[in-house]
Amino acid sequence: MAAAEPGPDHAIDIHLDELLAARGMTLTQLSEQVGVTIVNLSILKNGRAKAIRFSTLTRLCEALDCQPGDLMSWRKQD
């Protein structure tokens, strides 16, 4: 599954789709576990978020049992 397209002002790819697929989890389930609305998780997943709080990142990593680096990566620009 391809990573979400980055927003226009950054080159950070969010790999939420891959992590969800690897853990067999839906966005709704993640939303319930993390306490962030599905709409906001979709914004994050689609790379349209401008920033992510450490508290949100912590809960995402707990729910997905991953490191922040698994969730996002920097894409080198040409």
């Binding site: 962030v36 609305t37 709409v39 906001n40 998780l41 979709s42 914004i43 994050l44 349209r48 978020a49 401008k50 920033a51 992510i52 709080r53 949100t56």
Partner: protein, 221 residues
């Protein structure tokens, strides 16, 4: 998809946000409307004497420094104290149209400007209600209000002091040092509005910075 970011700015849902200024503005507008209605009723059905308008005498207070009060203007002065006058009321019993116009110029521009400022503040508060406090529209209106107060108060003070001096020269047969008195009167009137205008312009910059911060926060998950 509709954005549902956690920190989406409050779009003016809090009615208390614009209080107590909102209440004060509403009260002033209602009072002004009632007063205007009363004036119109009296103008139509009776005689009216208001600031030189109507059939009565035309009077205005003129700021004249250095006037020595002759006679017991302040009764029971303690020994060793003196009384000097700053403002005198000059009246023309049977004023000409020019004198009436001059007296009108001493207060009509000020009243018009204050009403315009109140209306602009009311519009500003309406924008705060609809767009939220940190919106570019709010910053733009604050900036316009600041420049309006700045330019308006200068124009009003100038017209007021010049009209007072001109009226004084039509009433007083002797030499009236009108220019120096006009300048001092104008400066006295200008100080507070200039500070308010500077405050509004600074507040507009602060709101503009707040808009940028709000935009950044709006994309935070």
């Amino acid at each position: 998809m509709q954005l549902d970011i956690d920190t989406t700015p409050n779009r003016g849902t809090d009615r208390k946000l614009t209080q107590p200024l909102g209440g004060a503005v509403r009260f002033i507008l209602i009072a002004a409307a009632v007063l205007l209605g009363i004036v119109l009723i009296f103008a139509v059905f009776g005689t009216i004497q208001l600031g030189g308008l109507g059939s009565g005498p035309a009077c205005t207070g003129v700021r004249l420094t250095g006037i020595t009060i002759a006679g017991p203007a302040v009764a029971h002065l303690q020994p060793g104290t003196t009384a000097t006058g700053g403002t005198v009321a000059l009246c023309a019993s049977r004023p000409t149209a020019g004198q009436r116009a001059l007296v009108g110029l001493t207060w009509i521009p000020a009243v018009a400007m204050y009403l315009a400022v109140v209306l602009l503040v009311a519009q500003l508060l309406q924008v705060v209600h609809t767009a939220g406090p940190f919106a570019m529209a709010v910053a733009r209106r604050l900036r316009f209000l600041g420049w309006f107060v700045l330019a308006g108060s200068v124009i009003v003070a100038a017209s007021q002091s010049v009209a007072q001096s001109a009226f004084a020269s039509t009433v007083d047969a002797g030499p009236v040092p009108a220019v120096s008195h006009a300048v001092s009167a104008g400066l006295a009137v200008l100080l507070v509005p200039l500070l308010i205008a500077c405050g509004l312009l600074t507040l507009a910059r602060v709101i503009r910075a707040g808009v940028q911060m709000s935009d950044d926060l709006a994309g935070t998950v």
